[in-house]
Subunit: 190 residues, 2 copies
């Protein structure tokens, strides 16, 4: 998606530890118009797939999931990173290794919201090593639903997670894939 | 907002400890069409206020903030509950007592995203004792910006936080105010 790539080049900042900071427009402060266009683009990429639900993970996936859901006209479900008092006891759970937070955590969704009749699109803002997506896939499998595919705003291609998921048969579509970033700038995959 | 009140009566569940569970449509699974109408309603309530930004807190405030931002055509900024590696060192911070999680936490936003020229609308899914709103107000004050008002989907009026904030001079508008809930059902304020 050319508009997103241009915005990354304009406003993205590369921090130590392979961190791409896009908090000025994507996942801390959110450019409402850009997010709307991202949602439209993802809906177009997965057009005709009979999706029944969009699944993401709190917190930064929620905005992009909601933007996409408006164009597909389905509910959003976001996995929670802690089992708060406003979850029931009947939950699906999966483990996720977080690249950003340097830990292993359990994610949860209410069992009643993932059904064997569901065809689910996973949406997230970032894909790096793919662990969050694997966790969300685990929730979908535990609920007996079908994973239609994954839509990602920014994939850090050099970390390999996206290609591993594709090789395992998942339809992963990313709007911007970064092959390298550093002193020479950010290089996108064609 | 009649549509929201009807949905609370239809799908809300009251759990022990004054917990109103609305995870089937508002803050875990999200009804995309309802959320869009909530955003439209909030934008109408604060019409003409020259808002420059919407501020919320992760995670469950993000969907309603984004839905509102589409109608006001401003960016969303969400406060983070932990200082992850994708925040810079120059942040604003405030303390928040969480009713749901039974703890005190610090919330953060990047300093550069709250400016003295900003007129900020705070948006959240729930208001109970008002601690989250007080924290967000603290961030706005620390950044030298103006708090235009607060828009809330569901206010638990019987916990008093909303009325305390109103008495302190803040323009708090809630789409559904619950005066009591329990064995006799849910009673809304007129």
């Amino acid at each position: 998606m050319q508009l997103l790539k241009e915005r990354i080049l304009k406003d993205g900042r590369v921090f130590d530890g392979d961190v791409l900071y896009v908090g000025s427009f994507l996942n801390h402060q959110i450019d409402t118009d850009l997010m709307d266009k991202i949602g439209n683009e993802i809906a177009t990429l997965f057009c005709g797939q009979k999706i029944t639900k969009i699944l993401t993970i709190e917190a930064s996936g929620i905005a992009i999931a909601c933007a996409t859901a408006r164009y597909i006209n389905v509910p959003v479900l976001f996995a929670k990173k802690s089992k708060t008092s406003n979850l029931t006891s009947d939950v699906l759970r999966a483990e996720v290794v977080s690249y950003t937070h340097h830990n292993i955590s359990t994610i949860f969704v209410e069992r009643e919201f993932i059904l064997p009749t569901d065809k689910i699109l996973v949406v997230d803002d970032f894909l790096a090593n793919g662990e969050a997506i694997r966790g969300l896939k685990g929730l979908i499998e535990e609920g007996g639903a079908e994973l239609v595919g994954c839509a990602i705003a920014i994939e850090k291609g050099f970390q390999g997670g996206g290609d591993e998921l594709r090789q395992s048969g998942i339809d992963v579509k990313s709007l911007a894939i970064i092959d390298s970033m550093g002193e020479d700038g950010i290089v996108f995959r064609d």
